[in-house]
Subunit: 331 residues, 3 copies
Amino acid sequence: MRLSLIAETLGTPLPGEEREIRAMNTLAEASAEELSYLSDNRYLKSLETTKAAAVLVKADAADAVPAHCIALVCEDVSLAMAKATSLFTPPLIDHNAAEPIIGVESFIDPRANIEKGTVIGKGVTVMAGAYVGSGVVIGDDTVIFPNVTIYRDCRIGSRCRIHGGSTIGADGFGYAHTAQGEHVKIYQNGNVVIEDDVEIGANCSIDRALFNSTIIRRGAKIDNNVHIGHNCDIGEHCIFVAQVGVGGSTHLGRNCVVSGQTAFSDHLEIAPFTTFTARSGVTKSIKESGKIFSGYPLMEHRLWTRLQSRLSKLAKEGISTKRRTKAHETE
Amino acid sequence: MRLSLIAETLGTPLPGEEREIRAMNTLAEASAEELSYLSDNRYLKSLETTKAAAVLVKADAADAVPAHCIALVCEDVSLAMAKATSLFTPPLIDHNAAEPIIGVESFIDPRANIEKGTVIGKGVTVMAGAYVGSGVVIGDDTVIFPNVTIYRDCRIGSRCRIHGGSTIGADGFGYAHTAQGEHVKIYQNGNVVIEDDVEIGANCSIDRALFNSTIIRRGAKIDNNVHIGHNCDIGEHCIFVAQVGVGGSTHLGRNCVVSGQTAFSDHLEIAPFTTFTARSGVTKSIKESGKIFSGYPLMEHRLWTRLQSRLSKLAKEGISTKRRTKAHETE
Amino acid sequence: MRLSLIAETLGTPLPGEEREIRAMNTLAEASAEELSYLSDNRYLKSLETTKAAAVLVKADAADAVPAHCIALVCEDVSLAMAKATSLFTPPLIDHNAAEPIIGVESFIDPRANIEKGTVIGKGVTVMAGAYVGSGVVIGDDTVIFPNVTIYRDCRIGSRCRIHGGSTIGADGFGYAHTAQGEHVKIYQNGNVVIEDDVEIGANCSIDRALFNSTIIRRGAKIDNNVHIGHNCDIGEHCIFVAQVGVGGSTHLGRNCVVSGQTAFSDHLEIAPFTTFTARSGVTKSIKESGKIFSGYPLMEHRLWTRLQSRLSKLAKEGISTKRRTKAHETE
């Protein structure tokens, strides 16, 4: 897309030569054909080193834009960025793509809904009612169970199993906000990449990235009703028990064990081989690997155990021994 | 439906003239063509002012029924009411309705399942595997993603996006209970109304109302795996992060921000511009707008922060400084 | 399947005569035609009394195998057991089964996806986009709403209602683990049995059993987005509010009331008529029936109420009366 068209759409002058812009990306990851943005001055450092062709900035940051990069000055960068994402979003379905390519010994149920532009490997099963969007690539020997939805451009590895009702690649949850309290959609133009040997339970939701990919790495196993936000990176051989939720851009190292109903804030980095007991609430990154955590706020598991024992005492203080005995109902 | 038929079904005498009953409703909202009920004497006040044509009551409340209204005396009003709802529930599919009306420039995938009696606006996309029930109305430029289910008679606004696997308009969760501990279904004869510019994530469940409508108001944005009970009213521009649950008949004012895994009891009134941090547990109404809450039981956010800091101290009491340092694992 | 083939697949010698093995099962439940395993010496007692035709054991437990039973000695019994389950898993679809049998006055939408080998009763409705797998049996007057997925060999009772997006019979979450931290799938060769008069909300996931059945008993009512693990047994007339999660092999007695977002660990036994308030975290079995529990860790409800009142005081200590009043924001 021509940069002049982007500038015109955003109602901002184009202060440099015309450029062809291929996509949008973060300051750190943008290539010389991409548009980026600085919506928070905390990232000024990244602005100085960005390779982006052009960048949306407020007037007060325009001087920090490197010489090779064109500054498009906007009053509200977040709103401008949201508007710009809408220019780069592909159509929901690519009606002009090539016919699906299906590998040998694959069974694609005629009642499955396969869009054009898909490439499906050997020995794959896609069951009735499953949806495989335009440009989706699926490896060998994978099973897509009934009524699974895979949005366009996602990539699924070999020997994966995705269970009924799961949705892979729906829009990440991102909006810019007007002064009037309205929310303006930030189109999610990335995808989801599920590597080999991943199993995903029923009714999971794994959102597509804003830019680039949400990644579920090799060998990860995910139980039912799990939510994984946009741009997450779930390490190899992670185990997620049912009803876990992960906020956007949180990265887990390999072989983490995440027990049921645990939740993660966004933008965390979790060391490999970390274990979370049930219903942990994780709001800070974890640097040291191999530890066990519990609770919300999160603490080391043995500290949490001490706390619970002290709270149990606090609850029972002033109850006579006889009544205390009655208070022990579970075993 | 004739009132005499209702009385006969419930096995109760009809002590007045025949009337035609159009539907059921609460005492407060019933019109002169509707049947209502008093299952709890706390609502006696509403009985005195109801406009209902007839009302199910226990014998001891029959005298409080206003003169224009016919009292059907029942031994167990809840069970009678449940039975009566079954008389008013429409068939699951209206096979006799008119052919769907589809606006110009809409793309209704031939693999989508559209019942008769639907009215779909201009520029709408309904993708493969989506289900649009009898009598559903959809505004302009809305996208219904694959494998979404919209039950009969729901209304979806313009410029909405409903993501894969979400179910709009399934039955609210309501039963009357017999003395033997069995649960008798209360049929949910209302619908869901989703206003303009609403986005709903993947695998959400928004239940239809018992009577009238569950409402998601203009501009609200809802993340994945969210549950919203029957007769909720979610205010304009509310933000719901993933895995939130809302009990029946809870109303939120505009621009509330509800963080992940938060839950609400039923029948609450939440002031506008309220913020709930992650995993809040809301069991009481909130009258003052603009505040931030946390925790379960819920408290003001800064109070919760104080409490957590004190609990952290309580957990560490008696641990030597050296071990206390080790206890800080997260950052 | 011939036992010699199983031994060969597992790379272990067959120290007895050839036997035909029909299926796998636990030591306690295995019949004389089934293969079992001892992966944990805690179950040595069950080994001594098992009726199994053969059993996978470590060398040190081989002497405890009863005379009628053949010991297949494996280095890692869990990994061997996982591998063995793959031998007994049926194909995803039974293309050779008989045409579906449909009772009178049933409406099976032609846009529903019904596999061969199904038996559907009288007066049943299966709506568009629903999937009914091979060998599924459905009773009379049941409604399967759109985009429900029922995996092969599950059994659904009479007068049930299963709402949109729910998945019945997806694989339970079970893996054996290699020394390298990889997870090896344990195939889930059981099914789900849903008895009569059960209602299941939208986007629920009820997993099939490893062996035998996950059971939802007569009259149970389950709200939206609920997860029920493999081999659970949910008692008659239980009530599950939305977003509850139940770990594998947990059994609840009749008429338990489980409020929203409550979670259960695996392998628990819960007495009948137990009530759990919202977001309870249940990690221990409950023997005495008729009690009310709250919190995580779980405690009796009135103890939890005391604790919360004391925590509220702890939070407010040192806040002046004026500020304390301000701290009461909810009502």
